[in-house]
C-alpha cells in the first residue's frame, strides 16, 4: 500500500488484512504500556485544511502509539491564510522530511493531487476530501461491524473474515457525505449489502451506478423492506455545506429521517446504531438512540485509533516505503 486515497484502492484481501492488523493493534491498546517502537524515527504530518476533532487526534494518537514523530498543521493560523498554495505547502513539508502526509481538504481530489503531482515523496493518506471520500472512517466502521457481528464479540474469532451477507442502512445526507461514499465502496468490497436512505434532494446524481440500493422511506427500511438490517449508520446533516434548502425544515427532516427510540425499537435485536460523529443530537439522531446500549458511537472512536495504526504500519513498513 503506497497511498490510501480511496476505499476503492483496497480489494477484499487488502481490506481484510488491514482489519486483521487493526485487530492486533487494538489488542496492544489494552495493555498498560500502549506505545510500540514500530515507526520510530518516521515523521507523520497531519495536514488539515478543515476543522476536525476526532480524525486529527485519532491519527495523532495512532502515530504516537507507534513512536512516529507527529507534526500538526492546520490551515487556520498558518501561511495558508496569507495565500500559500497547496503545492508550496507540500514542498515545505517535503523539505522537512515527511514520511506520511495525512491530509484533510475541503476540495475533492486534493489528496490525489498531492499524491501524484510529484511534489512530495512521502505517502499520502486521505483523511477526508470535500464530498469525495474518507477511507479510514470506512475502515473503522467496517472494523466495528466485524467485531460486533462476526465472531463472538471477540477479535480473534473474526480474523480473516469479511462482512459477507450483512446488511447496513446508511441514512441521511448522502449528497455531501464522504463517509457514505467510502462506506458504500468498502462494505460492498467486503461482501455486505448497503441500503442508502435519504430524501431525494440529498442523494447525488448518478447514484444508480453505485453498488448499493436506495430508498426514500426510512420506516420501510427499518421494518425490513430490504431485508433485516444488521446496522444503521446515521450521517451528520452537514449544515456548513447546506447552501440551498434541501429539506423544508429541521423538524420535518428529523421526523422522517431521524433515528429516535421508536425506530431503534423496530430494528432487529442485534442491529447496531452507528454514527461517524460529530452528532447533531435531536436532528439526525435522538439522545436516546445515541446513548442506547446498541450504539457503537464511542467504540467507533476507540477503533479509529487501532485502524489508523494499522494503516500507518502498512504504509510505512516494508522495503518499498
Amino acid at each position: 500500500m503506497k497511498h490510501l486515497l480511496s476505499a476503492a484502492d483496497l480489494d477484499r484481501d487488502a481490506a481484510v488484512s488491514v482489519l486483521d492488523v487493526a485487530e492486533q493493534m487494538a489488542a496492544t491498546q489494552q495493555r498498560e504500556i500502549k506505545k510500540l517502537p514500530t515507526l520510530r524515527g518516521r515523521t507523520v504530518v497531519n495536514l488539515f485544511y478543515e476543522d476536525s476533532t476526532r480524525t486529527r487526534i485519532s491519527f495523532e494518537a495512532a502515530a504516537k502509539r507507534l513512536s512516529a514523530d507527529v507534526i500538526n498543521f492546520s490551515a487556520k493560523g498558518s501561511s495558508v491564510s496569507k495565500g500559500e498554495s497547496l503545492k508550496d505547502t507540500a514542498l515545505t513539508l517535503e523539505a522537512m522530511g515527511a514520511d506520511v502526509v495525512v491530509v484533510r481538504h475541503p476540495v475533492s481530489g486534493a489528496p490525489h493531487r498531492l499524491a501524484h503531482a510529484g511534489w512530495i515523496r512521502g505517502a499520502v493518506v486521505n483523511a477526508g476530501d470535500g464530498t469525495h471520500e474518507h477511507p479510514t472512517q470506512a475502515l473503522l466502521d467496517a472494523f466495528t461491524l466485524r467485531r460486533r457481528l462476526v465472531g463472538e464479540d471477540r477479535g480473534d474469532s473474526s480474523l480473516g473474515q469479511d462482512l459477507k451477507g450483512r446488511r447496513v442502512a446508511i441514512v441521511g445526507d448522502v449528497l455531501h457525505s464522504r463517509v457514505a461514499r467510502s462506506n458504500v465502496l468498502l462494505l460492498h468490497t467486503l461482501g455486505a449489502e448497503v441500503v442508502l436512505v435519504a430524501p431525494p434532494t440529498l442523494l447525488p446524481v448518478g447514484i444508480g451506478s453505485w453498488p448499493c440500493t436506495m430508498s426514500y422511506d426510512m420506516d420501510g427500511v427499518i421494518n425490513g423492506d430490504h431485508g433485516d438490517l444488521d446496522a444503521v449508520m446515521m450521517l451528520r446533516v452537514q449544515q456548513e455545506r447546506m447552501n440551498a434548502a434541501y429539506f423544508p425544515s429541521a423538524r420535518e427532516y428529523s421526523r422522517r429521517y431521524g433515528l429516535d427510540a421508536k425506530r431503534v425499537a423496530a430494528l432487529p435485536d442485534h442491529a447496531l446504531v452507528m454514527h461517524p460523529g460529530p452528532m447533531n443530537r435531536g436532528l439526525e439522531i435522538s439522545a436516546e438512540a445515541a446513548d442506547s446500549a446498541r450504539s457503537t458511537i464511542v467504540e467507533q472512536v476507540a477503533n479509529g485509533v487501532a485502524v489508523r495504526m494499522a494503516v500507518l504500519y502498512l504504509i510505512l513498513s516494508g522495503e518499498n516505503s
Binding site: D20, V21, Q24, M25, A27, R31, L36, S317, G318, E319
Partner: protein, 204 residues
Amino acid sequence: MSSAQRATDPSGTSPPSPAVSPAAPAPDARAVLEAAEISRALSRIAHEVLERNKGAGGLILLGIPTRGVHLARRLARRLAEIEGTEVPVGALDVTMHRDDLRRQPIRAIGATNVPAEGIDDHVVVLVDDVLYSGRTIRAALDALSDLGRPRAVRLAVLVDRGHRELPIRADHVGKNLPTSQLERVRVHLSEVDGEDSVWIEGGS
C-alpha cells in the same frame, strides 16, 4: 518469527512464507532431524527447564509465532506429564519490535496472548524454532518489557544454527547445527506442515 525459514540474509530475517504448507524441500535439501529426534530433544529441554527452575512453579512459556507457539505448547504438555502441573502457555509476537521492518516486505502481525495473571515476577521461557542472528530474540526481549517485568527470562530453541550478531545465547538448545550463512534451515512441524522434520538446503 512468522516463518520456519531462516534465509541467507545475515540481517537475520527471512521473507514471509505462507503460514501453511511451505514449498517442498529443494532437491539439495538434507534432513538433519527426524520426528523421533525432535521429540527426544523437546523431552530433554522440558527436563532441563524443570531442573533449572527447580520445578514448574512460576513458569510461563511464551512461543514466538508461528512455529515457536506450537513448540511451546508441546513443551507445556511434556512439563505437565513430568510434574503433573499445568504451565501457562502464550504467544509473543515480536513483529512490531523488529529493527528490520524497512528492509523486508510487509509482515503480517501475529497475535500476542499472555496468560491472564501476567508475566510480572514469573520466569518466562521464550520458545522459538531456530536461533540465528539473535535479532528476533532482541525484539522479543523488548516486547516482553512492554508487557511487564518478569523475574527472569530464559530462551529455549529447537535448533541453534550459529552466526549470532548480538550478544544473545540460548539456555536450552534442542540441537546445535553448524551451518554456512549460505544455507537455510527449515523447520517443519506437524501442526503447520503435516510432519516433524528439520532440513538444511542450499549452500552448494
